[in-house]
Symmetry: C2
Subunit: 348 residues, 2 copies
DNA sequence: GCCCTCTATGTAAACGATTACATATTTGGG
DNA sequence: CCCAAATATGTAATCGTTTACATAGAGGGC
């Protein structure tokens, strides 16, 4: 491997000068600049980032700790992070970690000397556990919050989004509205449940425990929850699933049970994954700007890094948007004319 | 930050001994071992991986270069890679790169000193461009092959999978079978097209250029391709989409046009994404073991690394499997009894 | 008691860059 | 023509590890 010394020798210059040329730091004559650039290019010299980061104590790398995430969410959040990181000259070191405190600590520790900061996504961790992460480098919490105010955090406007969707169901006439919940330990799921209940209470509708079914964000969970719901003596007329995957499982179960959507049962989801509009009927959902979520998390992290982790902590939420399609009935279907269809779909 | 020197001073030992204890190398007395472990633990010492990799010239990190990938594929391939990497004590440095030769070269170069090897996924790049990647570290090509035999590569059994699916459509009686293609520059897409044609030829069916429609792997492309196909004077009776996303777009278009699937039109996809079984009707597809794809790519890369890139190059393909559901008709629907449903769904 | 072989530990040289400081050369003002 | 300032380049310390080599003491065979 060719090092800076090799280049220096070949160009008959000192390593210092070579370094200066390569980094554009310090004064160098135009002549030397050209000579060294030429030699370095010819020898295909590439600086060794490990060595560089040892002396500068900057790695230009961001760690990302993720739980087991499936589908579009994972891809899109990473896309947002990578776009933002690259634009700022950073790389992404991605690692999946067990969601318990020990797993996270180990993973964060392994980042020492590898990353300048870490985005930790751990929606299933309870707030206390995250209180004192043993980290000297900046940390941003994604989709969870710590109890204290020690860590920057970024979350989805879960509660508001759920409240609006349930509010919409109520506004088109539903009174018996079921929810398929996510895991009780999951922050997003808990917040969405809170929004559901809040909305019902606001409309003066009594909460019915029978209408709150367990789920775990998988299609299979949505499927079996529906089987239970339609077996009830007093069936709901609408179902709000805490995410789209479960809503899709729900649609599938309703279809097989011969229950018409939205006529006999309205269905709504959360996330607005790209496939939602291709369901039958197209699925109403709460749109989550996932790319922005990743992008913003990295921005927060970079801010922490430039301020050497000595900055007022922030707590932000990205806002959601109601997307009403046919599965909730009551409102004209979203069906753009064919000629404009392609562009619109791609842009969403 | 606490360094190995701090630990040495605190334990009144030399850095060499501390290093020996921490790495379990060289002889140390049981007493010193305990003392140093205790001190290091108490001081929360974590070795600086940058410094370590500088001297050992091992980073314990694998680079991953990906194009713009969407949905389940992206998540799942990374999951497979990360699982395998972690099991071998490696980390993943993930970067999205422009798919042109220059972008890839730059990205690979940026990996120097950061990664011990790189997995490059670049299905849209032509074979020649990949011929001489300027890399001293091992490279594995994913979903593409280089013309020479200079680089390890791993691909999907695209051609065989497509051939089998089209063969199945033929076996249930179809003669006019359309294909919605992927981008012509995409390796997977080209191979799937080849399998489609091969299968038709084997059955003595004339190829009809009108039945080969352009696509780009998006739902929108599938949607509009179907609108064109059903406008033909001599409609096909079956549609093979080169991936599931386009098949889903196709289903949506057929539904809106009031064409019954599979009675009036059979539809098949490729990839077998988890959602395929939740479509209406459940979508027949060619199953691709995505996790295994990622896992195997990392295994190949690790092999190259341990052999210092001086090993016979391999060219492997992961095998696909036909999954027939209702959208192609002709065969009993896959609908497991409710009680076993959940387990089965999750495991797929 | 001598020498040889272990075992346990320390010393110091790498690894490949950056950069403070020193030195040499040029430039220009008076 | 001299000296200060500016410019260009070099020398060497440094970052935090690993590890080859050196050293010192302990144990054992003769």
């Amino acid at each position: 491997m060719v090092t800076i010394k090799d280049v220096a020798r070949e160009a008959k210059m000192s390593v210092a000068t070579v370094s200066r040329v390569l980094n554009g730091s310090g004064p160098v004559s135009e002549e030397t600049r050209r000579l060294i650039s030429e030699v370095a290019g010819r020898m295909r010299y590439v600086p060794h980032s490990g060595a560089r980061s040892l002396i500068t104590s900057k790695t230009q790398t961001l760690g990302v700790l993720l739980p087991d995430l499936y589908g579009e969410f994972f891809s899109e959040v990473i896309r947002g992070m990578d776009d933002t990181a690259q634009r700022n000259g950073f790389h992404l070191l991605i690692s999946r970690a067990y969601a318990d405190r020990h797993g996270i600590e180990t993973a964060i520790r392994a980042m020492r000397g590898r990353a300048d900061g870490v985005v930790v996504m751990s929606p299933d961790l309870d707030a206390e556990s995250l209180l004192n992460l043993p980290s000297t480098i900046p940390v941003v919490l994604l989709c969870s919050v710590s109890r204290g105010n020690e860590i920057d955090s970024l979350t989805i406007q879960n509660c508001r989004g759920a409240r609006e969707m349930v509010g919409h169901l109520i506004s088109v006439g539903h009174r018996r509205i079921a929810i398929i919940k996510g895991s009780p330990r999951n922050y997003d799921a808990a917040e969405r449940l809170r929004g559901y209940r809040m909305s019902l209470r606001e409309a003066g509708i009594m909460l019915d425990p029978l209408l709150e079914r367990e789920g775990d964000f998988t299609e299979a969970a949505g499927y079996s929850a529906v089987l239970e719901l339609i077996a009830l003596k007093n069936r709901p007329t609408a179902i709000f699933a805490a995410n789209d995957s479960m809503a899709i499982g729900a649609l599938s179960a309703l279809r097989e049970s011969g229950i018409a959507v939205p006529e006999e049962m309205a269905v709504a989801g959360f996330d607005d994954i790209p496939l939602a509009r291709y369901m039958d009927p197209p699925l109403s959902s709460v749109h989550v700007p996932i790319w922005e979520l990743g992008a913003r998390a990295v921005e927060l992290l970079l801010h922490g890094i430039t301020h050497k982790n000595d900055h007022p902590r922030r707590r932000e939420r990205v806002s959601t948007k109601l997307v009403i399609r046919r599965s909730t009935g009551g409102v004209p279907a979203e069906r753009p004319p064919p000629q404009t269809l392609k562009r619109k779909l791609v842009s969403v």
